[in-house]
């Protein structure tokens, strides 16, 4: 469906509809919160019943998510030993490869057999699709790093990791999408790094994004779109078919694991309808994990967990942060939105609408590492983390546009519209309300108890039931602590067991984090959207101390 994925330049009914839909998430969240406060005060019996029903729902959802977090971690662990390049070469010659797999099967450990079982299923699906994948030798990667404030200390580890990929780096094109407004020092750093590493790649260039292009907002999407357009022209001059190019849009601090592009190439080759798919790795925040305040560490590990859980549900998965897709699809949808902050999720919705619902995100059980937000001091870090979470929560800006597109679309199945629309809406509403309901509002019927309620059985039973529920929920917290310890980077050997124990205790900050870095920024974002006070792009502070060996 042809659809202008933007809130700009609307007139008449679409403009009014857009505005109404912008109001709905914030209004819903505020209605829930204020409604619950008033219900707790004036109708405490009803309030107590609603709260207990909600607590139970939350507990079951938490258990459900923890279960899939564990399963997802197991899958990630299994796939960490996978030789993705061998699989890539295998797909190049499937007939011979299947025979080889049969031969190997008996020699493998249980974990490898599980991985192989999934692998076979994927091959089977590819064969059934009748589609022939491109040869790995013909596949090129285009990697875009948007840069505004990131200096050499940030970008060098990223490009160094690209140069050490198991997938041949000479099939990789690296582009630094540099804002014209960036400091001269940043320009110099980027040019230096580019010159130093160019030899490793098919091409490594810097594309300067001019400031103040009409129709663009000061957002990352505008910068990477400009770079992608320039590189598409370049690729065409080299006679490389764009359907053989995979674009990866990374944050400047993204350090990929050695097998990232091998894994990405494999998934691109094995996925039927590969031009209608994005590829989502598991983001980890390990670059500076021991250099940041404890609350920031817990928050970002929580973000990784969320992505691990989401990876188990590809039907509803949406791209997040650093991700990859085919250049063909990107060109077809006219690149990223140039006037939206949440370009990472917006590109998925743009594609989903463009391809009439026949677009999906393929989870990849491979990690890439980014920086945890870290400013010069503790207080500044709190502010930066808050702003970053608000920016993520600003993803709610997609809701009105997606809903407008769903309204217009005749080709996207109704069930899919409801499913995706509900998830998008419910996700943002629970993000902005659950923290408050669990930490503050849930206790209000007891706090404001008077007269009849204070001498009722309900008054005494609410804390008992709530305590039981919270005790059961603490099992999930224990699971999270264990997994966070297992996921810590193993290469950082100088950090002692004491530090790990301290890290485990940091999870006790969860109730505080849930409110101040979860619900509050989300409610802030929704309120701004509701009031029409649109958020501007803000570059995250990412400071890294120099590592000593």
């Amino acid at each position: 469906m042809k659809f202008n994925y933007s809130k700009e330049n609307l007139k008449g009914f679409p403009k009014r509809l857009q505005r109404i839909l912008e109001i709905i998430p914030g209004l819903t969240s505020w209605t829930i919160l204020i409604g619950m406060v008033l219900t707790s005060i004036f109708f405490p019996f009803t309030g107590a019943i609603i709260i207990i029903c909600f607590y139970l729902w939350w507990l079951l959802r938490l258990l459900y998510m923890t279960l899939f977090l564990i399963l997802s971690y197991i899958r990630l662990n299994i796939e960490s030993k996978t030789d993705w390049m061998a699989r890539v070469h295998g797909i190049d010659d499937i007939a011979t490869y299947l025979g080889f797999l049969d031969f190997r099967h008996g020699l493998l450990h249980f974990r490898q057999r599980l991985s192989l079982w999934t692998h076979r299923k994927e091959i089977h699906l590819l064969q059934n699709s009748g589609q022939i994948p491109p040869k790995s030798n013909d596949i090129y990667h285009l990697v875009i790093f948007p840069i505004l404030k990131e200096d050499r200390g940030i970008i060098e580890p990223a490009i160094e990791a690209l140069s050490q990929q198991s997938f041949p780096p000479h099939q990789t094109m690296v582009v630094f999408a540099l804002e014209e407004l960036a400091d001269a020092r940043i320009h110099q750093d980027v040019n230096d790094v580019c010159a130093q590493y160019r030899q490793h790649f098919f091409e490594c260039v810097t594309v300067i994004h001019p400031a103040n292009i009409p129709g663009e907002a000061r957002v990352k999407g505008a910068n990477v779109t400009y770079a992608a357009e320039s590189m598409t022209a370049f690729i065409r001059t080299k006679n490389i078919p764009i359907d053989q190019v995979i674009v990866s849009c990374f944050d400047a601090d993204t350090v990929v694991s050695r097998d990232y592009f091998a894994c990405l190439t494999y998934h691109f080759m094995i996925t039927p309808d590969r031009f209608q798919a994005s590829f989502q790795p598991i983001p980890m925040y390990h670059n500076n994990i021991w250099q940041v305040p404890n609350f920031a560490r817990v928050i970002e590990i929580g973000s990784s967990f969320f992505q691990l859980i989401e990876a188990t549900n590809p039907e509803k998965l949406v791209t997040f942060s650093s991700h990859s897709m085919s250049l063909k699809a990107l060109v077809e949808v006219n690149y990223w939105p140039v006037d939206m902050i949440s370009d990472d999720s917006a590109i998925f919705w743009k594609c989903y609408i463009h391809f009439d619902g026949r677009y999906r995100v393929v989870p990849m059980y491979v990690t890439l590492s980014m920086d945890v937000v870290c400013a010069a001091n503790w207080l500044s870090t709190i502010k930066s983390v808050y702003k970053q979470k608000r920016r993520w929560a600003w993803g709610v800006e997609n809701f009105p546009i997606v809903m407008r597109a769903f309204w217009r679309s005749r080709n996207i199945p109704l069930f899919d519209k409801i499913r995706h629309g509900f998830k998008l809406f419910e996700g943002h509403i629970s993000w902005s309300t659950w923290g408050f309901l669990l930490s503050i509002i849930g206790w209000m019927p007891a706090l404001f108890a008077k007269h009849e309620f204070a001498s009722s059985v309900v008054y005494y039973n609410v804390p008992e039931i709530a305590n039981t529920i919270f005790n059961l929920a603490s099992l999930c917290l224990v699971a999270s602590i264990i997994l966070s310890l297992l996921l810590l980077p193993k290469t950082t050997i100088r950090h002692s067991i004491f530090k790990k124990i301290t890290h485990a205790l940091e999870w006790l900050l969860m109730p505080f984090i849930m409110v101040f870095f979860g619900a509050l920024p989300a409610l802030d974002a929704q309120t701004r959207l509701m009031l029409g006070k649109y958020l501007e792009f803000w570059v995250t502070d990412k400071h890294r101390k120099k590592q000593t060996p």
């Binding site: 729902w57 008077k450 007269h451 001498s455 009722s456 309900v458 005494y460 039973n461 609410v462």
Partner: protein, 366 residues
């Protein structure tokens, strides 16, 4: 994995729809009776004591937890509740349990088998004046100003003379005094060489600050009033009107409009307050501590008004003072006239005061 997710989702959804109604029934006080195979309406008893950790017996059966405890799933009817703690006299009462209601036996003050009395001032004392706002009391010996001792109750130091040796008022004779509840100030009327003196005494500091306000009080007033923490304005009541005195500015504002006098904070009125010479409502206001003549009693304010427990005898015609912050009762011993103390409340009440007040108000309304 997606299929597994779907299966688990529907299983969890099923669990939710099964558990949720049961949880709501439980919340509302329904309990499943396995014998009758149906849900029955129940009530609960909340029992707490001061001091806590008392064993609770319900119709003779020991409850699983010690106080404070909630005993659930009780079918409606009357229950005999007994609280027992080593070193204290057992407490027993019969309480009704109503379906879907909580019967609160809250903060029951357990009486020790023997009170542990401590001598505060061995020298004879004729009366005590409590100044709770100043966290102190004054011990008076006869009417000589020279003998008034100031005792700060939050520290362990020895009592000191209210008036220092160099004070010009030490030769005076105490005629009358005025206090306001919760205020750290006291106004003393003394006779000094046949002159009436009015002294404004601020007890907030270690050494009391004494100010002569005699020039501002032209004739003996019927009553004095000031706001508990206002160290500037004093109201003197005469048959013809009310004067406002600004102590700092040494100014009198005669015959002010009575509406401009700040009203004293109104406290909830308790019903059935027993007749007494002195009454303290203690222990989250569920216990009366009262002095009648020279005997001091404890009485449960919420339940049985006929049962009062005598705890000690004091010197005739003397006051007692209960200091809420340390739970101690200060009194003058009936035998040797020493200033003594006993600890009535060893623990702060378990339930926060606002909640306790809510519960009490509820009972009063009922």
């Amino acid at each position: 994995m997606p299929y597994l997710r779907k299966i688990v989702f529907y299983v969890f959804l099923g669990i939710y729809f099964i558990i949720c109604p049961m949880l709501i029934l439980r919340l509302l006080g329904f309990a499943f009776d396995p014998a009758a195979k149906h849900w029955v309406k129940t009530g609960i008893i909340y029992a707490s004591s001061n001091p806590p950790d008392a064993s609770v017996y319900l119709n003779g059966r020991l409850a699983p937890e010690k106080t404070p405890t909630v005993i659930r799933d009780l079918t409606p009817g009357d229950y005999t509740v007994r609280m027992q703690l080593n070193g204290y006299a057992p407490w027993e009462n019969t309480v009704p349990v109503v379906d879907k209601k909580a019967t609160s036996i809250e903060n029951i003050l357990l009486i020790p088998a023997q009170w542990d009395a401590k001598i505060i001032q061995p020298m004879p004392v004729t009366n005590v004046i409590g100044i709770p706002g100043g966290n102190c009391l004054l011990a008076i010996n006869n009417d000589s100003v020279n003998n008034i001792l100031l005792l700060h109750l939050n520290d362990q130091e020895e009592p000191d003379h209210l008036f220092p040796p160099e004070s010009i008022y030490r030769e005076g004779r105490l005629v009358n005094y005025f206090t306001v509840p919760q205020s750290p100030f006291i106004v003393m009327q003394i006779d000094l060489t046949d002159k009436h003196k009015y002294l404004w005494i601020d007890t907030r500091d270690k050494l009391a600050h004494i100010e002569d306000i005699s020039d501002l009080i032209t004739s003996p007033p019927q009553r004095l009033y000031w706001e508990p923490n206002d160290d500037k304005n004093l109201y003197t009541f005469y048959p013809g009107g009310v004067n406002r005195i600004n102590i700092k500015a040494k100014a009198i504002y005669p015959n002010i409009d009575e509406k401009s006098i700040p009203a004293a904070k109104k406290r909830p009125v308790l019903e059935n307050i027993p007749a007494a010479d002195q009454l303290f409502i203690i222990n989250n206001e569920n216990t009366f501590l009262l002095r009648k003549n020279n005997e001091v009693f404890l009485m449960n304010a919420l339940q049985d008004h006929t049962r009062k427990t005598k705890i000690l005898s004091v010197h005739p015609q003397t006051d007692v003072f209960f200091y809420e912050k340390n739970g101690k009762l200060y009194y003058i011993d009936g035998k040797n006239s020493s200033l003594m103390s006993i600890t009535i409340l060893h623990h702060k009440p378990f339930i926060p005061k606002p909640i306790a007040e809510t519960l009490r108000l509820k009972r009063l309304e009922e």
